[in-house]
Subunit: 357 residues, 2 copies
């Protein structure tokens, strides 16, 4: 056990599991790097964090996370450049949102410096798990769960913060078609849709299963009151290209303020791609599709980066999109990856180097 700055205890794994991993055939989120970070909240404060070998945790069956879903998470990625340097992409944006989510779920905020210092220490220990080359990354999953035992519906007095990491290639494999929600909903006004609250995700599984039976991999959620406006896809924000114009919904208390979404908007402005952040009507997208003006739909999120959508369904109708030679999705993905993998100038200051210990 050695101590690093900020009193992070580090217990190194006796042996690495890395040789047992087939990095060419990774299933997203299925394999975890050798170490994890853990930090408990009790007696009104976050305790000393520890980095230790990845392994199971033990909880009382009455722990509040099991009963009341008091839990939030983030998704981040680390990339390796050709010189074996490791980079994070806009980590401070994720940490900020982590604490925005925590606040909404009545979870104590986690100190930014401990988060970042702990994450860097963790990444240095598991550097070998980050592979070079476009598309390869280490997916980082920070999360907090309510650990206090007791089945009364009130905020927990104890919590566990963790960071676990999973080597990743693509999030969705294969073609993605989406269904525009016309019955089920993801979030209410005044609810927790803008937070990465655990319960937001489990609630989507059943409607998504129904959509899958109809040949759609994802749902584009619409406003719960009227189903007239397109909002987000649950694991990604969503963009529509009509003619040369890019459309996406404004963030709200129902829609996650995605870091990749924000980055796409910034890149669009930088490269003079007309972008309108405004409410997007289902009717206008359907009409654009019928007129041949709907050129592209794509999702933007940390796990998926930029995910082109091949077609969509709305009520009874199915629409297919043509491949575009001047695809915006391809353009943004390339621009983002060039920054993420240290292949291009970082005008926006989005990259953060993980200095070697």
């Amino acid at each position: 056990m050695k101590n690093v700055p900020l009193a992070i205890d580090v217990v190194e794994a006796k042996a690495s599991r890395i040789d047992s991993v087939d990095f060419e055939n990774l299933i997203f989120g299925n394999v975890f790097a050798d170490h994890m970070m853990e930090c408990d909240f009790k007696d009104g404060q976050w305790q000393n964090p520890v980095i230790k070998p990845y392994g199971p945790i033990q909880l009382d069956p009455s722990a509040k996370v099991f009963h009341y879903g008091q839990a939030i998470f983030e998704g981040m990625k680390a990339f390796k450049d050709d010189e074996d340097q490791v980079w994070l992409f806009r980590p401070e944006a994720n940490i900020e949102r982590f604490n925005i989510s925590s606040k909404r779920l009545a979870i104590p905020e986690f100190p930014k410096e401990v988060f970042l210092e702990g994450l860097k220490t963790l990444l240095n220990l598991d550097r070998d798990w980050i592979k070079k080359g476009f598309g390869n990354s280490l997916y980082i999953r920070p999360f907090v769960i309510a650990t206090e035992p007791g089945v009364s519906a009130s905020p927990s007095k104890t919590y566990k913060f963790m960071i676990i990491c999973s080597p990743a290639k693509a999030y969705y494999s294969g073609e993605v078609r989406v269904f525009f929600a016309d019955k089920y909903s993801r979030a209410a006004d005044g609810g927790v849709g803008y937070a990465k609250a655990a319960g937001n995700y489990g609630a989507q599984f059943y409607p998504t299963n129904l959509a899958k039976e109809q040949g759609y991999q994802q749902i584009v959620w619409t406003d719960a009151s009227t189903h007239e406006y397109l909002e987000e896809a649950g694991t990604m924000n969503i963009f529509f290209r009509v003619g040369e114009k890019l459309l996406t919904a404004p963030t709200s208390d129902r829609i996650l303020d995605g870091v990749t979404r924000r980055s796409v908007i910034a890149l669009a402005e930088e490269y003079n791609i007309p972008v309108e952040v405004r409410r997007v009507k289902v009717a206008e997208i359907v009409e654009a599709a019928k007129k041949g003006e709907l050129k592209e739909i794509f999702g933007a999120g940390t796990a998926a980066t930029i995910n082109p959508v091949k077609g969509f369904g709305n009520k009874g109708e199915k629409f297919e999109l043509q491949d575009q030679e001047d695809s915006y999705a391809t353009f943004f993905k390339k621009k983002l990856m060039e920054i993420q993998y240290n292949k291009a100038e970082d005008k926006f200051g989005w990259r953060m180097l993980v200095e070697k210990d």
Copy 2:
């Protein structure tokens, strides 16, 4: 280890913890009986259930319940009569709702017979934890959590069903005042509000904390779109008495179909108390309060049974309610308890005897 019908394995605790429990000073949901029931779902089916000593469970940190809130629960109670007989109250209604909740969260339904047989076996083992006397009960918490490791947002392939039990007196101690939601929301149309989904509860903690700062213990949730209609209180359904008339909102995909709620409506009909199940406007309740026609508000739920509300807040205004000599809340609570504790005829067939093994 002995086998009971339906192949439920029973591992008895070596020693009981019961002597360490102060049954006169119980905090709700804080102490658990000696045994718990556990049943795992894998390879596409529920495995052999086991009843064993209450104790911690071990999960991978990437288990889906932690990240995606794929979890649901129920609340039930067992009562003991003067002849030491143990009774359940409408258990089939809870089991039915357990599976309605499961379906919405894409969790495989649990077989009703195994649930009931397992529960009865569990209650027989922990009979001594059920104390006689009005107000004493054993609170029963069945729940399911998604246990599959992996941080991709998709339904788990493995689950753990559990029943844990906690000796209980009252749920809320002290006077309860409620705040009518005017900004935050509990559920969306097309969402999971009608299910006992874990995430529905954690999402209420922060707004409830804000209400507590204003002197309210609970929030009465209103419709997310307009905040004009009163819906439910998150852990209880809510009833309003205007003059002699009882009002409560109809169930919907936003409102839990409470067993106690249903029982109150049935009792009202039985005893010729006029009851209207219809949308209840905030404005009409405020107006009735101002005219002195609002006689009572009370909550109805398994944990709380019937919970009288002493006052409410709406926007800037605070209202206090006068104690009623002919209180409906007191009447329904008495009628319910007489049935629950085998002190009155069970016209509706709500009681179920837990036969001794």
